[in-house]
């Protein structure tokens, strides 16, 4: 795709540098995390020192990424090499997972070349490349490792590829768990907490949030449960509908119990009882989640008021047995009782599941739901990717169109200056011309210029609308040497 070539992306002043679950293991990722209280200072450092005109820090448990609106134009050259295979490596656009000093700064050539070019082209400057180097140094400082080592885990993308990357991130196509819903809120929070985002970066994040919403509403990418706790919640929802106001009992006070509790609390479960062999640990966990602790011998008294039981103890044998259930609920509970047993070995006797109105599931049952959901989500990927592609094209068109109007003004201004200079030069050589004759010369050159510029102007406007705007704008800039600041056309008169 021509518009995605390095040559064509150099002018979109966007870049992303970061690392994710695809490029680094968790023990490395955790070293790169910027604490929330430092995030604002990091962003301010980038914008105040002129490294970027705007910056957004996206930090989740699976990724830390800095999105930048680069100063001046383009990404320029980038010094640090990342070894290994990164996400989307080998893709076109600004992906720079392998290339050292990729040729974003080289002058335009008829066909985009992936070969490195050490020097930036006219009008680009090294700002972008310097920015990326600065960000890598920032990450290295945070991680407390040499810059070259940090760069091994970092990927960076620029221009169109940076936009596409954010769209894939926000739609969860790049997430560890495909279709997870949290990422959209995390991207929104990252954008909202950025003090200075810059016009292009702002537009990019707004477009990204819209794409995220579109994928969620038009595809089933987020349908179903994709983790064991969420599968348990999905089961509970199929029995109780809303979990708001329900009462839950958690057996065990370990890490899994805490995770289960946080999932239940997020669903609005009204009261939680924590039961553990060691009551002190139960009390500790109950205090953390605002629940009530009981010992195992209080189980029979607590069960009649419970809707959901989650078990995750390290007990060697069953904790909830059929005789116990029969004692507590002779003939079965009057209201449905959901029991989710995520312990290994299992905490609940399988015979408990035969009691009327008791719904018993173990970790294999939950896994079945998760596998099914993930398979169905994967089937939705092509539809989601189509939406992302469309959104990238739309963003590209917006960006291209933004450049066309000033370029036309510049082109016409430049041509008019040349015309005026040449007419003046000619008229100085022809002092005998009468005012009417001078006027004819003026009119002739003006008409000539208008006719010559008519087609290019029309074509530029057309290109802005059909997605080829950036390519044509770059070609026009190169051909007519319009890389100077807006309105500053040199006369070109020699």
């Amino acid at each position: 795709m021509a518009v995605g070539s390095p040559r064509m992306t150099r002018e979109m002043p966007l870049a992303v540098v970061g690392l994710s679950h695809r490029s680094a293991p968790v023990e490395v990722r955790e070293r790169f995390v910027f604490p929330a209280e430092e995030a604002a200072a990091v962003l301010a450092e980038l914008t105040d020192t002129g490294v970027a005109d705007g910056a957004v820090l996206l930090s989740t448990c699976n990724r830390t990424e800095l999105y930048l609106e680069l100063p001046g134009a383009g990404a320029g050259t980038f010094t640090f090499t990342r070894s290994g295979t990164g996400p989307g490596s080998g893709s076109e656009g600004g992906e720079d997972a392998h290339a050292h000093s990729r040729g974003h700064g080289s002058p335009p050539s008829p066909s985009p070349s992936p070969s490195p070019s050490p020097s930036p082209g006219p009008g680009q400057g090294r700002g972008g490349g310097r920015a990326l180097d600065a960000v890598v140094r920032l990450f290295a400082r945070r991680a407390g490792m040499p810059v070259e080592e940090a760069a091994r885990y970092l990927y960076h993308r620029t221009g169109r590829a940076a936009a596409e990357h954010l769209f894939r991130v926000v739609t969860s196509l790049d997430s560890m768990i495909l279709g997870e819903a949290q990422i959209q809120g995390q991207v929104r929070a990252a954008y909202e907490s950025a003090a200075v985002a810059g016009p292009t970066l702002s537009r990019l994040f707004q477009a990204a949030l819209a794409v995220g919403g579109r994928v969620r509403s038009e595809t089933a990418l987020g349908a179903g449960a994709a983790s064991v706790p969420s599968a348990a919640v999905a089961l509970a929802r199929k029995i109780f509908g809303s979990l708001r106001g329900r009462r839950a009992l958690v057996l065990g006070a370990g890490e899994m119990s805490e995770l289960a509790l946080s999932c239940l609390a997020a669903e609005g479960v009204r009261s939680v009882v924590v039961a553990n062999r060691t009551e002190a640990r139960a009390r500790e966990l109950a205090e953390r989640v605002g629940g009530r602790a009981i010992a195992y011998d209080g189980l029979e008294a607590a069960l009649p008021k419970i809707d959901i039981v989650m078990t995750a103890t390290a007990a060697p044998g069953p904790v909830l047995t059929r005789p116990l259930l029969d004692r507590v609920f002779p003939g079965g509970p009057r209201h449905p009782l959901l029991i989710v047993d995520i312990a290994l070995p299992r905490d609940v006797e399988p015979a408990v599941g035969q009691v009327e109105n008791v719904f018993l599931y173990d970790v294999d049952d939950l896994r079945q739901i998760v596998d099914d959901s993930l398979e169905r989500r994967r089937a939705e990927m092509p539809a989601a990717e189509r939406i992302v592609d469309e959104a990238v094209d739309d963003f590209w068109r917006w960006y291209a169109a933004r450049d066309v109007a000033p370029l036309i003004r510049k082109l016409r201004g430049r041509a008019e200056a040349v015309r005026r200079a040449e007419v003046e030069k000619a008229l100085r050589r022809l002092p005998e011309l009468a005012p009417e004759q001078r006027e004819v010369v003026e009119a002739l050159t003006r008409q000539l210029l208008a006719k010559v510029l008519h087609r290019p102007t029309v074509r530029l406007r057309e290109a802005a609308g059909n997605g080829n705007g950036v390519a044509v704008v770059h070609a026009a800039r190169y051909l007519f040497e319009l890389d100077g600041p807006d309105g500053e056309g040199d006369t070109g008169a020699e």
Partner: protein
Amino acid sequence: MLRAAVCGSADGRPRAPVAVCRAVVTVLHLAALAGYVAVAALLGGSLAGGRARAPGSIAMLTGAAVVLHAAALAVYTIHLGEPPLVGLAPSLSALGFLIGAVVLATTVFRESRTLGVVLTPVVAILLGTALALGLAPAGTPVAYRDAWLYVHVALSFVGYAGLTVAFAAGLVYLLQFRELKGKRFGRVFRFFPALDTLDVLGRRALAIGFPAFSLGLLIGFAWSARFQRPLSAADPKVVWGALIWLVFLAALGARAGGASRCRRGALVCVVGYAVVVFAYVVLRLAEAGGPFFL
């Protein structure tokens, strides 16, 4: 305004040609039927495709079908100067409209809108039958058609609609219960609402349907005693009315207590509804041509 422009004058006497009004009523019914069939097809497609929810367009499509259906019944009422509660075809259409309105109400609540996959085919069958029979008043002589007759029929229809909704909720409850107990997390599990939602819906349908039907029966008896001969216990409509009332009673009784009360209640609704429909067909056939029975 509609009355004057389409089917009659302001003084209530029909002016427009009967054929035109009948054509308008038929076309509107056909359009509504098409809407219900589309809703049923969309929901059925979603269920077959293993989707976890009903398509977003369901609410709008159901709304359009119900509005068209309401317009058809309004034109019918304006044209004939009486509600479509007399005669088999108009009554079926009116009953279908009531159930259609319930389907529309369920679409408001996202989690219960998939119940339409059971209810919209019922509406479509009622409407299709009404169209096939021809939408014209018949049966009760004009002299007997007073307000009490309409109140009796309307309340009875609320009862039938309640029982139909309770049947749909019960059927889906049993299917969902089977999936959950059997640890089968397939299409039914994904598509249909939670057990609790279905139980509440079925309970409310019975809670509204039973008193309405009981009151309708009482008014029917009173009306019949006033205008007609005393009713015999062998009269098909008495048999059918009593049967429905007993099914209501059994469904409510089954929910009285115990661990399996929800499942038992759902089962009684499903079996009871099947018995009611079967009994209707048998009694209708036995009383072929009889004028007084729905």
